[in-house]
């Protein structure tokens, strides 16, 4: 794979405007309604990262550290407060079809009024691609994700894993340069998750796309990624560590060396969380921050096991 910088994130900081939030999210997005931060807190502070073309890159961090926030900035759904994000040297200023997105929740992302095939054709249709051409590309993508034979089904006839496959096929068919994925397998059972992970690796190898993949599952991070960015915790979260996974694909999670690497990654994550928590408690006195630090550590550990 070539050695061009695909995505360049420089000094990105993000502060949610609490007043604006009320305006932005009047339309029933309850995902972040339980925000308990201070109005003046930065969620992300001075994040720097370069992702190479064709790289499989993982964002790993505890829940609430700002992975989705950073991803949404790269996708163009959210405005940054400071800094710059460039794709091929060009500043990002909104969503674009060169950045395909696979959302965490397939049910809210798929168009239930369209069949599988029509969902997959969607991006091409928006671009004005002719019907026959569209169909051909869509069927290829559907085959690639293993949904052949389900072209005419609607999303209420699909399982959770199949829905995520539809999302992946839909993104691939639109032929983006970068594939942005936010914990896409988080809601699936272990078996399905493993299958989809393997399929994703195959798709990545076949298409050579740059993949930006968020997870808080350490084993998943090590199984999938070439490089892993480790996040500290919000407020003022940033990428504090970058790990390169030294193993070839396909990786075997039962391999002892891989197991040890997972342990190593866990330690790195714990250190990052501990260090930033220490910094926070140093900065502010009274709070229940310490307690939540413990929770996040516990969660990170349980995921690793």
């Amino acid at each position: 794979m070539s050695n061009n910088t695909k995505i360049k994130i420089e000094h990105i900081s993000k502060k949610y405007d609490v007043e604006n939030k009320a305006l932005l999210f009047t339309k029933g997005n309850s995902a972040h309604d339980n925000f308990v931060g201070h109005e003046t807190d930065y969620v992300l502070k001075d994040v720097n990262l370069e992702i190479q073309e064709g790289e499989f890159h993982i964002f790993l961090g505890a829940s609430g550290c700002g992975k989705t926030t950073l991803l949404n900035i790269v996708a163009g759904f959210l405005n940054k407060t400071e800094g710059s994000v460039k794709l091929d040297g060009k500043e990002i200023s909104g969503p674009g079809s060169e950045r395909g997105v696979v959302f965490q929740n397939a049910d809210s992302a798929i168009f239930p009024w369209l069949t599988v095939q029509k969902n997959v054709e969607y991006g091409l249709r928006m671009r004005g691609v002719k019907k026959d051409e569209r169909k051909k590309i869509a069927l290829d993508a559907i085959e690639l994700v293993g949904l052949k034979g389900h072209e005419y089904k609607y999303s209420d006839e699909l399982s959770g894993g199949m829905k995520q496959r539809v999302q992946i096929a839909r993104s691939i068919a639109a032929n983006p340069e970068v594939l942005i994925m936010d914990e896409p397998f988080g809601a699936l059972d272990a078996q399905t998750r493993r299958t989809l992970q393997d399929e994703l690796i195959n798709i990545w190898k076949k298409t050579g796309k740059t993949i930006l993949f968020v997870t808080h599952d350490i084993a998943e991070a090590v199984y999938l990624g070439e490089n892993i960015s480790i996040f500290s915790v919000a407020p003022d979260a940033s990428i504090v560590d970058k790990i390169t996974v030294p193993y070839k694909y396909p990786r075997d999670v039962n391999d002892q060396r891989v197991g040890e690497f997972i342990k190593y990654t866990t330690e790195q994550l714990e250190n990052a969380i501990r260090a930033s928590k220490a910094k926070h408690t140093g900065l502010q006195t009274a709070d229940n921050e310490g307690e939540s630090a413990g929770n996040e550590l516990a969660e990170a550990k349980s995921v690793a096991v």
Binding site: F25, T26, K27, G28, N29, A75, G76, F77, G94, P95, G96, S97, R99, G100, V101, F103, N105, S108, A109, I110, F111, P112, W113, L114, Y122, G123, M126, R127, Y154, D156, R170, S171, A174, P176, I180
Partner: protein, 253 residues
């Protein structure tokens, strides 16, 4: 066995039977011209069925309702979609909606007659006015229930604002649009009486309103029952068609 009784109760047959019995009992105490019995009403019904008057009234009222209601759909749905999707449209139009929806159609009756004449037009406008608000308001609500993630998905697949309006806002609001259409139809049927109260010489509303002049209280009853039955079946039909054809839009019935 238990299942069958459940089914019978659920179907509402028992409720109707009880109503008829009460109606019959109450009517025993009053004169026909004041409170006709079910039998007397049926006799009156037969009379206007046989001389064709009822059919004429039904067909003219149904026509008016359908015309007024379709106009309300034609205007109300796009307006609701635009208000729901574009905040700036909302700012401009919503104040009017929130004012006029509290002014009942009947309130405009004489004004409409004065402005639009005694012909069909004023009646249609009255029906449209009455049924447009539930349509607009439900359409707006439908747009607001669309998950923002759908717009994000559309945009990152290359849709522009117009395309995402057509391909996400419109289909996403379908279930609520249907609710609005159903409510709109019922208010259209309700308003037909008002519309035909003045300056009409046919229609179910006319029947209900004028029968009193001939002391034909039984015909008033016939008119009322017919309106109810028409509404009941129109709604059933609408739901049935929608459930069959719009299932994937989230219409559950």
């Amino acid at each position: 066995m238990k299942n069958i009784t459940r089914k019978i109760i659920k179907s509402g047959i028992i409720s109707w039977a009880v109503l008829f019995v009460i109606w019959g009992i109450v009517s025993l105490f009053y004169a026909e011209s004041f409170f006709p019995s079910p039998v007397e009403t049926f006799v009156g019904f037969k009379e206007i069925v046989l001389n064709g008057k009822l059919w004429e009234d039904i067909s003219i009222s149904v026509q008016r309702v359908l015309l007024g209601w379709s106009r309300a759909l034609l205007i109300g749905i796009p307006v609701g979609l635009l208000i729901g999707r574009f905040r700036i449209v909302n700012w401009f139009i919503e104040p009017f909606i929130n004012f006029f929806r509290f002014v009942p159609a009947i309130g405009f009756l004489t004004l409409f007659l004065m402005w639009f004449g005694v012909g069909e037009e004023s009646k249609l406008i009255l029906i449209t006015y009455a049924s447009i608000f539930p349509i607009i308001i439900n359409t707006i609500a439908g747009v607001n229930t669309i998950n923002p993630v759908k717009y994000q998905a559309a945009e990152s697949l290359g849709a522009n604002r117009f395309q995402s309006f057509i391909t996400v806002t419109v289909p996403g609001a379908v279930p609520s649009i249907l609710t609005g259409a159903r409510l709109g139809l019922s208010t259209a049927i309700i308003s037909i009486v008002g519309a035909e109260m003045l300056a009409a010489n046919s229609g179910l509303g006319y029947l209900v309103y004028t029968s009193r002049l001939y002391y034909r209280t039984d015909w008033i009853f016939v008119g009322i029952v017919t309106l109810g039955v028409l509404g009941f079946f129109a709604d059933k039909f609408l739901r049935f068609v929608a459930k069959k054809s719009l299932k994937h839009y989230g219409v559950t019935g």
